[in-house]
Amino acid sequence: MSNSKQSDTVIHTPSGIVGKQDFTITVYTENQVGLLNRIAIIFSRRKINIESLNVSPSEAEGIHRFTIVISETEDVVRKLCLQIEKQVEVLKAYYNTNEEIIWQEMALYKVPTDIIAEKAKVERLLHQHGARAVVIRKDYTIFETTGHREETEGLIKALEPYGLIEFVRSARVAIIKASKGFHEKLKEFEQTEPGEELVENEFLDKQDEVFTM
């Protein structure tokens, strides 16, 4: 009804992180039509841009894994994960900082074959970037490289003077360092009464800090 300025509060998160940073959200779900939209609109409703999104089957049969990268504050990401978990077909949503995961992106580069063949420098360059030829044709060659954003980005810059025709990069895929896989968790979900462990609680270890009365 009117323009209010209510949201200027900063809520401090348990770990004290207030600023925006990259978070990787890992979501385990049932394989169901329409779920991608249900998850996507949780972000778009809050005008949050998804930087990268990957969906593929997980190690557990019938369970799909979403890997979503966004740049936000931890408090926002935590709330997003709770909203994602609220979806009926979502089993679990985790969020992690870059330090807590091992992650990679794959990139493909299309370059004119004649230029590469002529210039030995290019070959050295590709070697330096750990790139590998996937297809070699008379007119063009496609290289592939895998790594972090800066690495794939670096090769674009390096190849630009040699007539880079086309470039594409995949979404991030990530493995949580501390994860023990999803098989065990899945067993708990299949029980009628879920196990205690399922309700994670950030306050559990912080009782001393919480009770100051």
């Binding site: 009804m1 009117s2 009926v88 979900f189 205690e196 009365m213």
Partner: protein, 579 residues
């Protein structure tokens, strides 16, 4: 009805599948889930289900509304007055899109509703066929769950899932879209099994004893504890447990708009309503209590006012069934996840028996001040024009607080919520979170069908009434006994109030004209009258309540009366204005 009997026999004795259509399977599912009343409107893509319904006339009552929005609001009213799941049928395309407002309303107010919409044949999906619309994606943000059925064999277990999801945990609306081919398709039906577990869905979190203990410790140390509660108490059917809790601890307790009627209005520990137009004491003292115990409520912005000035001095204990609500708006010191039906008795056991007389008196002092400055003038006005409050006051005296009050949205809603008296739970039905004008009339119809033994009084404004006025036709056709009170101030009053207070009285498009409501009602065969003088009010209310069948009473009230107290938007709850 033959079909059903055969199925029952075969299920219990022969246990042999029987061939039925998808449409029949839908109806069998509704019956198995205990549904008797369905609100709906037929159309092309749901015709096979309606054809099957023709044979189920003695098991299922179908209420033909006048607009699909009316169907879903009626189902909401039904669910809210009965505590059961509301049921809706609508066709594809416009039939389904007309449900969206009601779905959103049910979503934000956690009302269990199952909607079945027809859809074009599966082979026509995505072809822009006649009355084809992408219902699943349109309704994704406003449903707890939705699903499109294209094969009849899916129907029994999908509907079982739908009912299970709608009514468990934090309830909500579910929509099942069924393509026409699946409705027609015959398949081997093996009976209906209720859903009791979905591996990816946890209706309620496990209760953690350590948190209950921590909460109890905090409560026992508190000097000025304050309980604020919402609809979670009613949805969790935990009224008794809640009463035991506040009575043992001697806590002053204030309700949100949707928490109204969870305890009787005149309970000695009930200190009134929270929020923008709530009571003076609960709002101001939110910022003075030392432990704030929030139960089954979600800290809506209309309750909290400015968040960074909300209860900053207090330790917050938050009991909720939905993990996503805890710490969403207000950071809790101790979160107590779980069903309050389970957590409240655990907590009651651990808390000390206490009386906080001095603290409670503080609330009473504020109440007295509010009575002196606001309430007296509203309930016993000395002005010539009538106030909304005096209508509610007279109504209270005549119903004794035994009626179910259904309201629409606006000034009359806030006045009704502030002054209506309630003796029993599930007696206040209103559109809280979404603020849907037009909710009242259809919701009142549903409320009556959900609680036929009770008196239903709908309080509505002249604006909102015209949004779903066509449902008078439903009242006429099914002889639903609903008492309608239109509080007519000849304005869209709440917006006008804001324009007066915050936009320099620039009354921009709030001057609404109305038809002769009594004549309109007469056209539908509904009795009624208009009251313009105070001296006629009481007898008119009496006549309305004693009238057999529906009745429309239009009361002309002051054109520019305002609802106070008020927490202006962007202000703290302690900055509440009394005038």
């Amino acid at each position: 009805m033959e079909t059903l009997e055969i199925i029952k026999d075969q299920k219990t004795e022969i246990k042999e599948p029987v061939s039925i259509s998808g449409s029949q399977a839908v109806l069998e599912a509704f019956i198995a889930e205990g549904v008797h009343t369905i609100f709906g409107y037929p159309g092309g893509a749901i015709m096979p289900i309606y054809d099957a319904l023709y044979d189920y006339n003695d098991k299922l009552e179908h209420i033909l509304v006048r607009h699909e929005q009316g169907a879903i609001h009626a189902a909401q009213g039904f669910a809210r007055s009965s505590g059961k799941v509301g049921a809706v049928f609508a066709t594809s395309g416009p039939g389904a899109t007309n449900l969206v407002t009601g779905l959103a309303d049910a979503m934000i107010d956690s009302t269990p509703v199952v909607c079945v919409t027809g859809q074009v044949f599966a082979h026509l999906l995505g072809t822009d066929a006649f009355q084809e619309i992408d219902v699943i994606n349109i309704t994704a943000p406003v449903t707890k769950w939705n699903y499109q059925v294209t094969d009849a064999t899916e129907i029994p277990h999908i509907l079982a899932k739908a009912f299970y999801i709608a009514r468990t945990g934090r309830p909500g609306p579910v929509l099942i879209d069924i393509t026409k081919n699946a409705q027609i398709q015959k398949f081997d039906y093996e009976g209906y099994t209720k859903c009791e577990h979905i591996r990816s869905y946890r209706p309620k979190p496990i209760v953690r004893k350590e948190y209950v203990e921590d909460a109890a410790k905090l409560i026992n140390e508190a000097k000025k504890p304050f309980v604020i509660f919402g609809q979670g108490i009613i949805l969790g059917k935990a009224e008794k447990e809640f009463k035991a809790f506040i009575e043992k601890g001697g806590f002053p307790a204030a309700w949100t708009v949707l928490g109204l009627s969870a305890i009787p209005t005149d309970h000695p520990l009930n200190v009134g309503m929270l929020g923008m137009h709530g009571n003076y004491g609960p709002n101001v003292l939110t910022n003075e209590c030392d432990v704030l115990i929030a139960i089954g409520m979600r800290f809506d912005d209309r309750v909290t006012g400015r968040l960074d000035k909300y209860a900053k001095q207090a330790k917050v204990i938050h009991l909720d069934i939905d993990p996503a609500e805890v710490d969403k708006n207000v950071k809790s010191t101790v979160p107590v996840w779980g069903d309050c039906k389970e957590t409240l008795p655990m907590l009651t056991k651990l808390i000390d028996k206490k009386e906080h007389t001095e603290w409670l008196n503080k609330f009473h002092e504020f109440t007295q001040k509010e009575i002196d400055i606001v309430i007296n003038d509203e309930l016993n006005p000395k002005t010539e024009v009538m106030t909304m409050g005096e209508v509610i006051k007279s109504l209270n005296e005549l119903t004794n607080g035994d009626a179910i009050i259904v309201t629409d949205v606006g000034q009359h809603q806030m006045v009704a919520c502030r002054y209506a008296k309630f003796n029993q739970s599930k007696s206040n039905i209103t559109s809280g979170g979404l603020g849907t004008m037009g909710f009242g009339l259809p919701a009142a119809i549903g409320a009556k069908l959900g609680a036929p033994e009770r008196t239903i009084v709908e309080i509505v404004g002249d604006g909102g009434f015209q949004m779903t006025i066509q449902e008078l036709g439903t009242i006429m056709q099914y002889k639903v006994d609903v008492k309608i009170i239109i509080l007519n101030n000849q304005f869209l009053g709440m917006v006008r109030q804001w324009q007066q207070l915050f936009n320099d009285k620039r009354y921009s498009f709030v001057d609404i004209q109305s038809p002769d409501f009594v004549q309109v009602a007469k056209g539908y065969g509904i009795a009624g009258q208009t009251v313009k003088d105070r001296k006629d009010l009481r007898s008119a209310l009496q006549e309305m309540l004693e009238h057999k069948g529906s009745y429309l009473l239009e009361v002309m009230v002051g054109k520019e009366n305002n609802v106070f107290p008020m927490v202006p938007q962007g202000c703290s709850v302690s900055e509440i204005r009394l005038q």
